[in-house]
């Protein structure tokens, strides 16, 4: 979230798409109702189903799963053609005036630069016009130049008329126009609207572009950076925000530093690749904050390698593993299944050993049959869990998942009992970026241990083996610092201090070298104090400030709210720098005056920025720097050359497309979508599998955990799996409510109880009647007695977004039969 949960109460309009917060984030949803109650805010819900969120909305618009981009570009077109956008904001805070090279084009569903052999785009065709060396970029502040971003966008969205939106999304034109009227009512200084989404947007082969379309709409309406505004992702788990922030994915190190690739052989090459050249072409300069990249990186290397990291050895940079290509989720299991992978033009081994901490890939990942076949090829696997999950006993999965009998599966599986949330302390980071400490309430049961103790014991045992026996590059392992007071079971407060960072030598004031800011050994106050000469260490620059000399700020529990806007600066710690609203410089105009004086993000008081923690140099007068300090151009990108599937969003059908793309039938789906080619990667077509299917959660259950609660209340509330089917489809097929049905995709087939509902209605798409059904995802073959069920991911495909490589769970093709 750019903003926070409580901040939703400051909105005049709430557009909820790609999520069902009343069901999935019910307590956060209180703040939607608070906005309706106290501000008379309008809640607009756009969703394939009439959800619990829709049931309390001021306006509900049905939209076919996977067609959100068409809807959003329709809204953008409406805003641009009616003038209902915030033009002062757009001129100073976005790249609308930038002129794009004449090599950019878009024809018949393809952007320029498409390579039909590799199925990738050459992105240099999408650059700003000008010479990057001389910084001679061209801008047109009048927004009239035919190749300025504003005009190109206008041209791009011109096809998305209300009629076309109806044709693609199935939303009646009148309903769409009502949505457009409410949403664009915030395209000015006085009013402000928020946008909320969740996995209903991310889990598509066009997921990132859906989110981009939403962000572009918010930028045009001038709603980003303001209280009551923003682009707000509702994350589905208690600490996946924290996992994302702390290098939990293959492509990142902690703090969104990039995992080094093989061609970056020296620390200098690596740091240069992370520090973009500043583009100073607005009337103001840009902070281009990533120029500090080397400070974050060297401090991270000092945190992992300690004294072994020296200036002479590039601070141990060579020891960090380098990647060649993609190692994300679907690649892990594809390589595992195929037994090898091609890296830098040569064959390399596939994973033969696998550790999973608190994860259940068999249930969580797409294409279960492929997953089980992949795990069966492992030599060994370690599962650290609270209960015996599907993954732990994949070798004994029910026959329909296609696994070999246990006698033929040679994987040695360790199942280690871990502690639950109440049995360990430490911080979780919520969707609003708040790090909050939780205190341990009790010991774990039986012989269970905390995750940190299990990991540390394995780590130290491996270190000992290398110390005794040597082996492949022992220094990669032996030089990693594990210098905790109790290395076998590190105190998490001590780890959080390490993540915050400290001075390793006396640090001097950059303005006055005689003044010592920090003495060696002191915790630093924030990432602004980090150095790239080895005199500071920091495990995650983004978290810096969480554990200072003042103590553990994640433990703060002062709920005073002097702003009245729900910022709570003395409750926990919000990265970065305890800022509660990201991009808050954009909440003020060119002179630093807030767009709306009743909802002040930050404002210039003549000497400094006051309000929230400024997303700006605190003493830099208005006009010094652009508002978007992490980007080299200092303004937000309506046109972004950085994505893999186009600088503008475009409507593409899901990989399993129910209809040909009405706009360009020759390019129906995302031309650069991620796909795999193993024998288990079969895709269905609409002639055999005519129904669109989507997956979702229920408020009474939690992912694949709560089904394990023996004797639990939640298993009584939602005892088992069902298939949500529209009434008219059910009557066509003679399916009675409560009877058994079978849902089949090109990958698998599952059985469930029919839940016949009016919440789903047929869509009229390009003249064709199209049905959608829904599957709640909470069940599997491991559960409390009487509460097992099918894994819905037996049906889903290993296809996904080309930027995030997230699977397309939310729109795939099935057929439906009476069982």
């Amino acid at each position: 979230m750019t903003n926070g949960w409580v901040d939703i109460k400051n909105a005049d309009v709430i557009l909820a798409m790609g999520g069902n917060p009343a069901e999935n984030h019910p307590v956060g949803f209180k703040w939607f109702m608070e906005a309706k109650r106290t501000r008379n805010a309008k809640l607009v819900v756009v969703d394939p189903r009439f959800t619990r969120t829709a049931s309390v909305a001021d306006l509900y618009a049905p939209v076919r799963s996977g067609s959100d981009i068409a809807f959003l570009l329709g809204l953008i077109r409406y805003a641009l053609t009616t003038g209902r956008f915030h033009s002062d904001y757009v001129k100073i805070h976005t790249n609308a005036p930038y002129i794009i090279t004449d090599k950019f084009s878009f024809n018949d569903g393809l952007f320029s630069g498409f390579d039909g052999n590799t199925h990738q785009y050459l992105k240099e065709n999408w650059a700003y016009e000008g010479d990057p060396k001389t910084q001679a970029y061209s801008l047109d502040q009048t927004l009239q130049h035919p190749r300025c971003v504003f005009q190109l966008l206008k041209k791009h969205v011109d096809r998305y008329t209300p009629e076309v939106v109806e044709q693609i999304c199935g939303t009646p034109k009148e309903t769409f126009l009502k949505v457009a009227d409410i949403v664009t009512s915030t395209g000015n200084a006085e009013r402000c609207g928020t946008l909320t989404y969740a996995l209903g947007w991310t889990q598509h082969s066009i997921g990132v572009q859906i989110i981009r379309a939403g962000a572009m709409l918010q930028l045009l309406l001038g709603n980003v950076g303001r209280p009551g505004g923003g682009v707000n992702a509702f994350r589905g788990h208690s600490n996946i925000q924290g996992a994302t922030d702390t290098g939990g994915t293959f492509e990142t190190l902690p703090g969104y530093l990039k995992t080094p690739t093989a061609q970056l052989q020296t620390l200098k090459d690596y740091n240069d690749s992370g520090s973009p050249t500043t583009l100073n072409k607005q009337s103001w300069a840009t902070m281009n904050y990533w120029v500090n990249y080397s400070k974050f990186m060297v401090s991270l290397l000092k945190a992992i390698y300690g004294n072994a990291a020296t200036k002479e050895n590039d601070f141990g940079y060579a020891w960090l593993p380098k990647v060649d290509g993609n190692y994300s989720w679907m690649y892990i299991y594809d390589d595992m299944y195929r037994g090898s992978s091609m890296r830098a033009g040569a064959k390399e081994p596939a994973p033969e050993g696998f550790l999973t901490f608190g994860m259940n890939p068999v249930a969580l990942g797409p294409n279960v049959k492929k997953m089980i076949a992949a795990l069966s090829k492992l030599k060994w696997m370690v599962v650290v869990e609270n209960v015996e999950i599907e993954t732990a006993k994949f070798w004994n999965a029910p026959k329909e998942y296609g696994g070999a009998p246990p006698s033929q599966i040679q994987t040695e599986v360790y199942l280690l009992p871990a502690s639950g949330f109440a049995e360990k302390d430490g911080t979780f980071t919520n969707s609003a970026r708040w790090l909050q400490w939780k205190w341990k309430a009790l010991d774990p049961p039986g012989q269970s241990k905390t995750d940190q103790e299990i990991l540390s014991r394995i780590f130290l045992a491996v270190q000992n083996l290398y110390r005794k026996e040597g082996g492949a590059l022992p220094e990669q392992i032996l030089n990693v610092s594990w210098a905790y007071t109790n290395p076998v079971n590190p105190d998490l407060g001590e780890v959080l201090k390490e993540m915050n960072g400290k001075a390793l030598a006396d640090l001097h004031d950059p303005k006055d070298a005689t003044k010592v800011v920090k003495t060696a050994g002191q915790q630093i106050d924030g990432f602004g104090q980090l150095m790239d000469d080895g005199t500071t260490m920091c495990g995650n620059w983004l978290h810096s400030g969480v554990y200072t000399e003042a103590g553990n700020n994640a433990q703060r529990r002062n709920n005073a709210d002097p702003t009245g806007l729900g910022m709570y600066h003395n409750w926990g710690f919000s990265w970065p720098a305890n800022r509660r609203i990201m991009y808050n410089r954009a909440s003020a105009d060119a002179e630093g005056k807030p767009w709306d004086p009743t909802r002040v993000g930050i404002q210039w008081n003549g000497q400094k920025w006051v309000g929230d923690v400024p997303d700006m140099k605190p003493d830099a007068p208005p006009g010094t720097y652009g508002a978007f300090i992490m980007l080299p151009e200092g303004v937000a990108r309506l046109f972004a050359a950085s994505l893999n599937d186009g600088p503008f969003p475009e409507h593409y059908e899901p990989v399993e497309a129910p209809v040909a793309n009405p706009l360009h039938p020759n390019v129906t789906s995302n031309p650069v979508a991620l796909k795999f080619a193993s024998d288990k990667d079969t895709l269905g077509t609409s002639d055999k599998f005519p129904i669109v299917c989507t997956t979702y959660r229920l408020t009474e259950m939690y992912h694949y955990w709560t089904k394990h609660q023996e004797g639990g209340v939640l298993n009584e509330l939602q005892p088992g799996f069902f298939v949500e089917i529209p009434e008219k489809l059910a009557s066509q097929k003679g399916i009675a409510n409560g009877s058994k049905v079978r849902v089949t995709s090109a990958r698998g087939s599952i059985e469930g109880v029919a839940m016949v509902t009016q919440r789903l209605q047929p869509f009229k798409i390009n003249g064709k009647e199209l049905w959608q059904i829904g599957l709640p995802l909470h069940w599997g073959y491991a559960a409390a007695k009487g509460h097992t069920g099918p894994l819905v991911n037996f049906l889903t495909a290993s296809v996904g977004d080309p930027n995030t490589w997230t699977p397309e769970y939310k729109a795939f093709l099935v057929k439906l039969d009476k069982a």
């Binding site: 093989a262 992992i304 070798w395 430490g426």
Partner: protein, 172 residues
């Protein structure tokens, strides 16, 4: 009997939570992060085993203000779940059942596997001759209720072992 029982008879039954220890925690389910108060019996003295008897919303918490959803309010069922595994187990190659194993043997076995796999599959240089120092034979995924601190320790371990295949709930 020599003393008056009427006082004892008149005594109102005390609330179950009147003598519990309260611990401030955060709900482990979605990313709203509601404040929860965990009530345990036992005062945390060395010879007392704590047991969760009640969980309620934290009214001081600025986001949740005391509310919890059906999942949060039943967290006791999660903690006290009889299906919790309580000892390490191993399933040997080709076997159809779990065997109990001691922690020491489990850790030693895993460490040996890890080292053998790493030594067997380590790639010091790729086909282009670039130093890559990675172990394609290893993959690791981390969960959604791991703390930030655990995640950092895990990143250190992954880097130490040279694991290129790594991912988390954040992707899926």
């Amino acid at each position: 009997m020599g003393f008056d029982l009427s006082l004892a008879r008149a005594e109102v039954r005390q609330f179950k939570i009147s003598r519990t220890t309260e611990t401030r925690s955060i709900c482990p389910y979605c990313a709203v992060s509601c404040g929860v108060i965990i009530h345990t019996l036992g005062d945390r003295s060395k010879n007392a085993t704590s047991a969760v008897v009640h969980i309620e919303g934290d009214p001081d918490h600025p986001i949740s203000r005391g509310s919890l959803c059906p999942k949060g309010i039943t967290l006791k069922d999660d903690i006290n779940n009889p299906m919790r595994i309580k000892s390490p187990k191993v399933r040997r190659p080709g076997s159809d059942h779990w065997e109990e194993i001691t922690w020491d043997d489990a850790i030693a076995g895993i460490a040996r596997h890890l080292k053998d796999t790493r030594d067997r599959t380590f790639v010091a240089k790729n086909a282009k001759g670039q130093v890559v120092n990675r172990t394609p034979g290893l993959a690791m995924i981390g969960g959604c209720t791991d703390t930030n601190e655990f995640n950092f320790l895990q990143w250190k371990a992954i880097s130490a072992w040279g694991v290129p295949y790594r991912d988390s709930q954040a992707r899926v």
